[in-house]
């Protein structure tokens, strides 16, 4: 069949061909293999290299031993005030009792002690809601993820805020709760039987053989039962009102950055697509929004929202200070996210869109199924980098009078018993920030490796 190409073969037949035998491969020299080979090659390959290595090791030793001796060896663990600490070790060791005494405040701010269980419960629900996303046997991951982002906030807001709930607010809270029931039910069903909650209900009621429409009605009825149960639970819940002024510490930091993260990704996708749109008005609006918010420091935006927003609202309408800060952070973060995602979109060759288009896919299908998955994947490091930045940027809300983790740490040293204790709480929150941000970064690396298995360009 291979006579398709024009010339070849026949012209060479006059002389008999010599046989080509490839040489067998040899192993690499032993001195370059293994740990010893690596150390020799990379750390002691020459005299200056060895010197730099030794100097580096010495610096690491000095630095680490100083930290260990201050935080652990010379540290004071029991004392009633900073005075006692100073009497024991002077400034040579850390004074941890002050931090320990303040841990509840560092984590929950001024949230009433007897109500803290509400935050813990909401956190537990969040974890339980998110865990199925990592379980391989669970298949409804998209629905679970979407419900987490869209409906968990209703439930959480009520848990945190409490107070009176009108009919609309009750309905929304119940929606969040019903979604949680559904996530638990469908995850359990899919893990145990491989069938989703809806299918399981249909099978359990012996309706597997009935018509599609009948089964769909049954499925809807099952969801309604969940919703009614959630409504009942919501009605029986009566939580005391906790003003947002009392929210603070790590809790507040997580609330603000959580909203920012959950909002900025979808908003960024919409803005990035808007900016690339061929419709001039949409493109202009998106570009203006992005450039406006990217050209102004977050701190300025926070100030503007805090002081100027009330001027634009009709008299009597008051927007909560925390809400103002969250809105500012969300808008700021989405402008950045939009540019990251646009970068990802630009890295996808035009041919990908053409191939999808040639198959008869429309714009939205091609974007959603072909372009966006690839763009998001190559942008994972930047997207997570943006999330990490956002988490740390929330420290700026202290400027508009909110008590985030950083402000709470500063408050420790203003407590009369622990007057002047700044270093220890800062060291402690540094560790918290590090653990959170480093976990995000490691997770992003892990995600990258898993998603790009076999797909390297």
């Amino acid at each position: 069949m291979s006579d398709v190409m024009t010339p070849a073969g026949s012209a060479f037949e006059a002389t008999p061909a010599r046989r080509f035998t490839p040489k067998p491969a040899r192993p690499a020299p032993a001195s370059t293999l293994g740990l010893r080979g690596w150390i020799r090659q990379n750390m002691f390959s020459s005299a200056p290299n060895a010197l730099v290595t030794l100097l580096g090791l010495w610096l690491v030793y000095v630095f680490v031993s100083a930290i260990v001796s201050w935080t652990l060896v010379n540290a004071v663990w029991e004392a009633a005030s900073r005075r006692e600490c100073l009497d024991q070790v002077g400034r040579g060791g850390a004074c941890w009792p002050g931090v320990v005494a303040w841990i509840p405040n560092l984590i929950y701010g001024l949230y009433p002690k007897d109500q803290v269980w509400r935050i813990n419960l909401a956190a537990l629900v969040l974890v339980a809601w998110a865990i199925p996303l990592w379980l391989p046997r669970v298949r409804s991951k998209l629905a679970i993820g979407l419900s987490l982002v869209l409906l968990f906030p209703f439930f959480a807001s009520y848990m945190f805020l409490g107070g009176e709930k009108g009919p609309v607010w009750s309905a929304l809270i119940a929606l969040g709760l019903a979604a949680f029931f559904w996530v638990m039910a469908t995850s359990a069903a899919e893990i145990a039987t491989g069938r989703s909650f809806g299918r399981l209900v249909v099978v359990a009621l012996g309706a597997a053989g009935r018509s599609d429409a009948y089964r769909r009605r049954l499925h809807v009825a099952a969801l309604l039962v969940l919703y009614v149960a959630a409504l009942a639970v919501t009605a029986s819940l009566s939580l005391s009102f906790v003003q947002t002024r009392l929210w603070g510490g790590l809790f507040l930091t997580v609330v603000i950055s959580g909203f920012g993260i959950a909002f900025s990704l979808p908003a960024g996708i919409v803005l990035a697509l808007g900016r690339r749109s061929r419709m001039p008005l949409i493109s202009l609006l998106s570009t203006t929004f992005i450039e406006l918010f990217r050209s102004v420091p977050l701190i300025t935006i926070l100030f503007m929202f805090n002081t100027m927003l009330p001027l634009f609202l009709p008299a009597g309408v008051e927007v909560n200070q925390l809400v103002r800060a969250i809105v500012a952070v969300c808008l700021f973060a989405s402008a950045y996210m939009a540019e990251i995602i646009r970068g990802g979109l630009q890295a996808i060759p035009r041919g990908q869109y053409e191939a999808a288009s040639a198959m008869g896919l429309g714009f939205w299908q091609a974007t959603g199924l072909v372009i966006m998955p690839q763009a998001l994947k190559i942008m994972i490091p930047n997207i997570v980098g943006n999330f990490i930045g956002l988490f740390k940027d929330t420290t700026l809300v202290s400027i508009v009078g909110l008590f985030d983790l950083l402000s709470m740490a500063r408050a420790v040293g203003e407590d009369t018993r622990w007057l002047g204790l700044f270093l220890e709480p800062f060291f402690f929150i540094t560790m918290i920030y590090f653990v959170v941000c480093f976990s995000m970064s490691q997770y992003s690396l892990n995600l990258e490796n898993r998603l790009s298995a076999g797909q390297r360009r």
């Binding site: 069949m1 291979s2 006579d3 398709v4 190409m5 024009t6 060759p349 041919g351 990908q352 053409e354 191939a355 999808a356 288009s357 040639a358 198959m359 008869g360 896919l361 429309g362 299908q365 199924l369 072909v370 998955p373 690839q374 994947k377 076999g454 797909q455 390297r456 360009r457």
Partner: protein
């Protein structure tokens, strides 16, 4: 030269096609009519408009003037109608354009699933059938970038065939392949041609043109300069421009 209009409309009909990129006139008054089962090879120097011409057939490029009719249906009524007409046409690109985030099998079932709503099992069976036809069923679970260029292009052919198009377009399918891989792709195309598919191929593989083409079209500067059956085209080209081109690619 063309057959008189039969009862069934021709698969591809281009009438008075004109296209500009900005102010650059890429296609000038193109008229072309392709019969059912006809295999056409389009060649010409780079920048002659041959790729743009076949991309107008499935409207990846929109022509400003003239009409494109596929099986008698003209483009332009609505975006939905355009997408519907396109589904009769499969296309294979120079740079393969496989979806790197999907496996070979998923690439092949993609259009079946999302455009034709074929059930998964059925789509996979069909995809395996076509992967077998291009002789790489064993690669189905791999990702495109784990395959050689020739294998990727054969996957691209299988992917295009999966939706059972009535017309296949090939835009320089072998131009970005290593020399040793060109034949495996050409062999696949020859088989396809022998099965009676209507094909329009932009290519400089003159061996392929000689073997399977019903008609060879030579383009330059946005015009169809010459069209003829391969025998006549290669042995007795009419225009000086065609002779110069053939001299360059056959003896260059």
């Amino acid at each position: 030269m063309t057959a008189p209009a039969a009862a069934t409309p021709p698969p591809i009909e281009l009438i008075g096609l004109n296209k500009w990129f900005g102010s650059f006139h890429v296609l000038k008054d193109i008229d072309l009519r392709v019969r059912e089962g006809e295999r056409i090879v389009v060649c010409g120097p780079s920048g002659s408009g041959k790729s743009t011409l076949i991309r107008c057939i499935n409207q990846l490029e929109k022509n400003q003037e003239g009409t494109v009719r596929i099986h008698g249906r003209a483009y332009g009524a609505s975006a939905r109608e355009n997408d519907a007409i396109r589904r009769d046409i499969g296309m294979v690109f120079q740079s393969f354009n496989l979806f790197p985030h999907l496996t070979v099998l998923e690439n092949c079932t993609f259009a079946l699933t999302w455009v034709k709503q074929t059930p998964k099992r059925e789509a996979e069976a069909l995809a395996m059938e076509f992967l077998t036809r291009v002789r790489i069923p064993e690669q189905a679970r791999k990702f495109p970038l784990q395959l050689s260029g020739g294998q990727q292009q054969r996957v691209a052919i299988a992917r295009a065939l999966c939706v059972r198009p009535r017309i296949m377009l090939f835009d320089e399918p072998t131009s970005s392949l290593d020399p040793e891989m060109i034949n495996e792709v050409l062999d696949t195309m020859v088989e396809l041609a022998q099965s009676g598919m209507t094909m329009v191929v932009v290519s400089h593989e003159m061996g392929f043109a000689r073997k399977v083409a019903d008609r060879v079209i030579f383009m330059d500067q946005g015009e169809i300069v010459e069209e003829a059956a391969p025998e006549a085209f290669f042995t007795a080209p009419q225009f000086d421009r065609t002779r110069l081109f053939l001299n360059q690619i056959l003896h260059g």
